[in-house]
Symmetry: C2
Subunit: 205 residues, 2 copies
Amino acid sequence: MGIVARKEKQKQEIRSLILEASMKLFVEEGFSKVSVRKIAERIQYSPTTLYLYFKDKNEILFHCCESGFEKMLSQNIALTLINDPIERLHQMGVNYLNFGLENPEYYDLMFIQDAPMCALHDMGKGWSSGDQALEALKMVVHEAMQKGLLVSTKVETVAMAVWGMVHGLVSLAIRQRLDKLVPAEDMEQTMHDSLDWLLKTMKKA
Amino acid sequence: MGIVARKEKQKQEIRSLILEASMKLFVEEGFSKVSVRKIAERIQYSPTTLYLYFKDKNEILFHCCESGFEKMLSQNIALTLINDPIERLHQMGVNYLNFGLENPEYYDLMFIQDAPMCALHDMGKGWSSGDQALEALKMVVHEAMQKGLLVSTKVETVAMAVWGMVHGLVSLAIRQRLDKLVPAEDMEQTMHDSLDWLLKTMKKA
DNA sequence: TAAATATACTTAACAGTGTTAAGTTTTCAA
DNA sequence: TTGAAAACTTAACACTGTTAAGTATATTTA
């Protein structure tokens, strides 16, 4: 069975090749410019070959997403060192804002486009890394409530509020909706101010 | 000069015809299904005719957006009756959430897609109705601070936080990102809970 | 009134998109 | 060496936004 295993390994290698080319392409040229033909050209294959390794373009984008989540989670490792759950939640928010602003193309794919969600639906699979981040968020909110640092409410309510806000800020910024509210040079700072304000405000008196 | 005025009026009528057809189309079939050819077919014109009335597709979508903003603002008229600025801000948020959930296609265009912003940029114009809504938001925050109902900070910080959150909730919901956090049947309620929570929380003790 | 001009609109095409069916080349086992 | 299976490509379909060139239809001028 060594031979069939090697075949499988080769297949995985080409899958990786396709995904790496895709990611390079949309980091360099932006998400909207990624096309099946351009990906194929980069790896010197015919466009139709990609369909032997992935069901459709959405599925390719879905897998790019997954590596985006890993990228995002990797910056959160140092987080476990922070004891105060509010402070930890705050830092999670800061990391989230920074990730979004520094990787707008990835962010777009992970949280704004619906192509990846279509793929996810078609495949009947779950997010794994995405769910993991969500679980961490709920956990820290729960901990803060248990320690009496937050007024006790449904965990989902607060988790949704916090995620909603940071996502709202990043996605409005990415889509140029904040330009009229605040000058470009103050934008990043104001976004962080808003986050600071939320966490200071929600802290139990 | 009556004749040139009539000509101008006819031109405006065809512009309206195009816009109405576009809006019907994307309310019925969704934003992503709107194409120049389909719009043209609806009004029994050749696709290229549309380019005699609008610079490109983005410009058409931009004007659809504008009527979306009017739709949105129209539901905010009753708002001026509310005296308490916090209560008014709350109701603005409620209206925002409802508009987004009831008109996801419009919302998509107005706050998520970047086609309209491209058009806006190309035309060198401003949002008018969009800016108006933003001004109203800043105003109510300002008023709440002046009346001592909110801790005084930069108005933009709080306005951005509140808008960020409601936009975050709506856009995450529209793009199916909240499905894993909360069951579908509780989603709308939880979104409103989050908004309630924010406003209760930010109210000065 | 007839010719010239300006307006309104269409046809045909370009260059691109995702995707599929059918055909070809390569690889490998019997 | 032959035959089957796997890997890959060519050609095509049905779309997309957009433009250049051509055709009718009004309107203005001589």
